[in-house]
Symmetry: C2
Subunit: 235 residues, 2 copies
């Protein structure tokens, strides 16, 4: 992590730690620079990053202000790498339905951009939020990138394991959303009725090196999930 990224994290913690509300004016660049003992240009870069992350907004000539979302309990669509970290206030758990090392079929191989002779970890889980069904998830990990997984690990946060135990640098992800009616298989898994609505997300996750290593299909329980996304006009 670069210095300005580290400072950005510290300023973000400062905002949450002090529970600053929407529109609160932050200290000046000069104040932050002396507080953290870094140059003004590092603070400017850190604040630019926080603008892009939607944590603050800058009003030229007036200062820097806090941006806070109004509602809690929403799954953040802006964050890569699972939602365990974005739902800290909730009890997230998993039931593993299937876990094994397989050769992917041609559909999975296409989405994982690998060969059908490659080895791939397959994980099928029901995920729970506060003991209610949140989603059904089928996830595939290239063994060439994720050399080891076991049933105990996949019961928890797989991405946490990838980051901390395997020391992988997660990069970015592409997510594709479709609103659909549940078929019989999914309805049974989510304990809903055939034809009930669901949000299906296909996700491809890349290392920071640009290497695609994970493909997942997730079907969300429409009564137990809600989502949040923020954007900035700069995008």
């Amino acid at each position: 992590m670069l210095k300005y990224q580290k400072i950005a994290n510290e300023i973000e913690h400062y905002i949450y730690h002090n529970n600053l509300s929407q529109g609160t004016k932050l200290p000046t660049v000069e104040n932050f620079a002396s507080k953290y003992g870094v140059s003004k240009s590092t603070i400017v870069k850190a604040l630019d990053l926080l603008v892009l992350k939607g944590i603050v907004y800058q009003l030229q000539g007036s200062g820097i202000f806090v941006r806070r979302r109004n509602r809690s309990g929403y799954i953040d669509l802006n964050t890569t790498a699972g939602f365990t970290s974005t739902l800290k206030d909730f009890n997230i758990s998993s039931k593993v339905l299937d876990f094994k090392l397989i050769n992917p079929d041609s559909e999975i191989a296409t989405f994982l951009e690998c060969d059908i002779s490659d080895e791939v970890y397959m994980v099928k889980r029901i995920r729970y939020i506060n003991n209610e069904i949140m989603c059904y998830e089928e996830s595939y990990y290239k063994k060439s990138v994720v050399p080891y997984l076991n049933k105990e690990i996949v019961q928890g946060s797989i991405f946490e394991y990838l980051k901390t135990a395997l020391n992988l640098n997660l990069g970015f992800s592409d997510r594709y959303f479709h609103i659909e009616k549940l078929d019989e298989t999914l309805a049974k898994l989510l304990e809903l009725n055939v034809g009930d609505p669901t949000l299906n997300i296909s996700e491809q996750v890349y290392l920071s090196s640009g290497l695609l290593f994970n493909f997942s299909k997730i079907s969300y329980h429409y009564k137990h999930t809600q989502f949040y996304s923020q954007s900035s006009a700069i995008r």
Copy 2:
């Protein structure tokens, strides 16, 4: 727009104009600096912005590489300010069902953070994608920020008008997503059946000054819409 933002846009255009594919290595920082006649630090800042926008990724020591999504025809959830600009390849049109200046009810006043005695433009539209129903949209604009709208304007892209005619600086937005079953009113508007799935999005849009000026409720047609979102691990 700051210089590095302008350069970031030019590099983004360069990628699309040359139709560079995923993983293509870009010129070096030095090359870009001399090409655009700016300092290396401006290029570095522009590239940082493009990393955050998901346009490129950087591999320390190896260079900068193009990131391209794999599928087209998806509505981009990362962009503020309507989808007309994110669906350039499609024919987007609107049928205005209702347009008037009103005093908001207490629900709308709450979401717009205004008083029920304030004046607010209300726009109800069906939006079409390639002549198929894309969504039903109810949108509310504070008259104190958007002093003039008419039926002709709201038939097109309202955000384009706000930016170009009213010269407003759009800032950022908060979006809340719920998967729901269509009730009778919405089913009729979308020409679907009661109980069919829909994605409901509530959106609050802010000026870059942090002033909330627009609240919308949008219900998407599940057969004619699909969505895309990308994230970077830095977030």
